[in-house]
Amino acid sequence: MSVDLGRNTIFKEFEVLKHRWNETESVWKDVVRVEFSRDKWVPLESSVMTALAALDRLTPILVQVREQCSGGSGGH
């Protein structure tokens, strides 16, 4: 199922990116970093988290749809 796969890809890749950001943040100590963090990183992180939460709600529903409507083969 691509939704599940897509969700896992976004989660996994963002974990890697977050790790890189934490490393970068620890050595980048000026006002540009503060602005970058506030204006770019925080909104990005927030939208990733919101999308992941929405996908976490949707994924079991899709499993249910496939189970309940298929002819026994488990869906498409």
């Binding site: 939704v3 897509g6 890189r20 100590k29 919101t50 999308a51 529903i61 409507c69």
Partner: protein, 159 residues
């Protein structure tokens, strides 16, 4: 010291920038695949609706046939003894179960045809927001990092 050059290790910035680009590619593909899968699921539900309708028609025909065979057998008396209709009764029951199953599946399919679009809509807002970040904001982040790295490299050369 120039405040914009206050980064101890330019490599960290470069690695972060590369990771950002990598994330952009992966997230873009993932979001596209998610959208495609959601569209496919809606289409699949429409296909299942047609399939279960057809299955109900077949199951009704089979049940009608089974009932006819049962009645025919009941009338085939051998002397005073009632004929054994257990096989025909079993067949009627089986056909009834098949019909009930198909009707139940059709009801579930109709239910999800009504409800799934709303569930998908609940995802689409956050999904679109992430898409905007990935396609619109990340390029501005990488451009900004590019500038920063260039300035730092220049600064290092001077130092």
């Amino acid at each position: 010291m120039n405040p914009s050059a206050n980064v101890q290790n330019v490599d960290f910035l470069s690695m972060f920038q590369m990771s950002l680009q990598h994330f952009q590619e992966k997230a873009k593909d993932a979001l596209m695949n998610i959208d495609m899968d959601l569209r496919r699921t809606k289409d699949w539900l429409d296909d299942m609706y047609s399939e279960w309708k057809a299955e109900i028609r077949k199951a009704e025909d089979a049940l009608q046939q089974a009932k006819l065979e049962l009645n025919r057998k009941k009338m085939m008396k051998i002397g005073e003894r009632a004929p054994d209709t257990s096989d025909e009764e079993k067949r009627v029951k089986k056909c009834m179960a098949r019909l009930e199953h198909a009707e139940e599946k059709l009801e579930r399919t109709k239910h999800w045809q009504r409800s799934l679009p709303q569930e998908i809509l609940n995802y689409e807002g956050p999904g679109r927001q992430l898409k905007t970040q990935v396609e619109g904001v990340i390029p501005t982040m990488t451009a900004l990092l590019n500038e920063k790295i260039a300035v730092l490299e220049q600064y290092q050369k001077l130092g």
